[in-house]
């Protein structure tokens, strides 16, 4: 019962802030509503007994990605003006695309046979670390190589050749 109520509140926060993120008139407001969506997702992880994942969600997404997005927004035209509005005219295609994606996901979830809910003990950080670094070490390392490649690629792209450092 308590889980259902918690899930309801968290889901309402996620959907509401997500909706506001795409309908806000100001770009900065959109980013901040996105931050609220990400924090609600972290709350969902807590409700699912995965506190480590929740903390990482906040450290990486809200602390890191949202801050970087705010930087990106500041590079756009007129973002420094608090009064400036940002309106996209393509409402109808956006709604249609959204509905299409929703239909696809709903159909996929309908077909999947989900395992019955069991009362699992909350996964401790130590167990999570063991699973990641012992059972899935190859995937873990492959991911780090991928991220490293992305980082080097970004540096190569961003580097100006005329600057000698």
């Amino acid at each position: 019962m308590a889980e259902t109520i918690a899930f309801g509140i968290i889901a309402a926060c996620m959907l509401g802030s997500g909706l506001l993120a795409v309908t806000s008139k100001k770009l900065v407001h959109s980013v901040l509503w996105l931050a609220a969506t990400l924090v609600s997702t972290a709350a969902l992880y807590v409700a699912l007994a995965a506190p480590f994942l929740a903390a990482m969600q906040i450290v990486l997404y809200t602390g890191g990605v949202v801050t970087l997005m705010l930087f990106g927004v500041m590079l756009t035209d007129q973002a420094h003006d608090v009064g400036a509005a940002n309106l996209s005219g393509k409402r109808l295609p956006a709604v249609l695309l959204g509905l299409l994606l929703f239909g696809l996901l709903a159909a996929a979830i309908q077909r999947t046979s989900l395992p019955p809910i069991v009362e699992a003990p909350p996964a401790s950080t130590v167990e999570l670390g063991k699973v990641l670094l012992l059972d899935h070490v190859v995937a873990f390392e492959a991911l780090s190589v991928l991220l490293l490649a992305t980082m080097i690629g970004a540096i190569v792209l961003a580097r100006r050749n005329d600057v000698q450092d």
Binding site: V28, F52, A55, I58, V59, G64, T67, D81, S124
Partner: protein
Amino acid sequence: MTLEELLANAWVRGLVASVLVLTGILVVAAWATWVERRVAGRLQNRIGPNRVGWFGLLQPIADALKLLRKEVLVPDRADRGLFLLAPGLLLFFAMAAIAVVPWGPGLVAADLDIGLLWVLAMSGMMLVPTWIAGWSSNNKYSLVAGMRAAAQGISYEVPLLLSALVPVMLAGSFNLSDIAEAQARDGWYAIWPPGIGLAAFVIYFTTSLAEANRIPFDIPEAESELVAGVSTEYTGIAFGLFQMTEYIHTWLSSAVATLLFLGGWHGPFLGDSWWAGLIWMVLKTSVLFVSIMLLRWSLVRLRADQLMRFCWVWLVPISLGLVAATAIWIQVAQGGR
């Protein structure tokens, strides 16, 4: 119903703990301003506030009453909602972080398995309201300050996390109480493992100064170039909340550094009771807190580009090296785990 039975209830216990932590930390933040002004006075060869009450000890109350009675002005073209949200949100994240800090054996409001990560997550979150304050003020000085704070914050978070990993690896836990307990067994992590621990402590302490925007890392608030940083347009108690948050953040950094590297609440004499733990914890935290103040009033401010270079060229590689060195230490000197 006896007091013990009442406190056994998780809701009652949480409520009592929250009220105690909130009150305690507000008292600390208020009188920290008095200590800071007295220390600043000493270092600058002047007296500092000494008129209100005994040695000026009632000065914080007078200041708080003054700020509360002043009008909170919102600039005409500011983003009103976000402008008023920012200081409260900032204080909220600082308080949320401090909730998981243990002040003695069992003296903790929320004993999380991921305590340290929670503290780092919440202090990372504080960047967002800081930036909001800068942007929503619709003032170019505030905006520059907000951008600087965000840039500095996400850069210094990297060595902060990495150097905090050293005690986490040694203790084998993210829980702040466990890390403090492990040092009763292993000795202070600032001393043992030799060299590695001290270097990690120095890097952690330096980066936490940057996270709390203290000199020499206070370019977001550089008063000689940016008026008063993100708090330029704030008045009354809204301005007061910024000041309060800064002291709470500094106190939080000192407390976490104590728990990670200086043995937490353990000390000689006094025994193992909760009040002895509280005394040691507050004493050690205060030493770090006052040394941050001494640094603030003796050092000069770095330039923004020097600050970023120092972080990425020196602090990040060194702290990465320290993490590797700690792993080798655990394998070689302690024979693995």
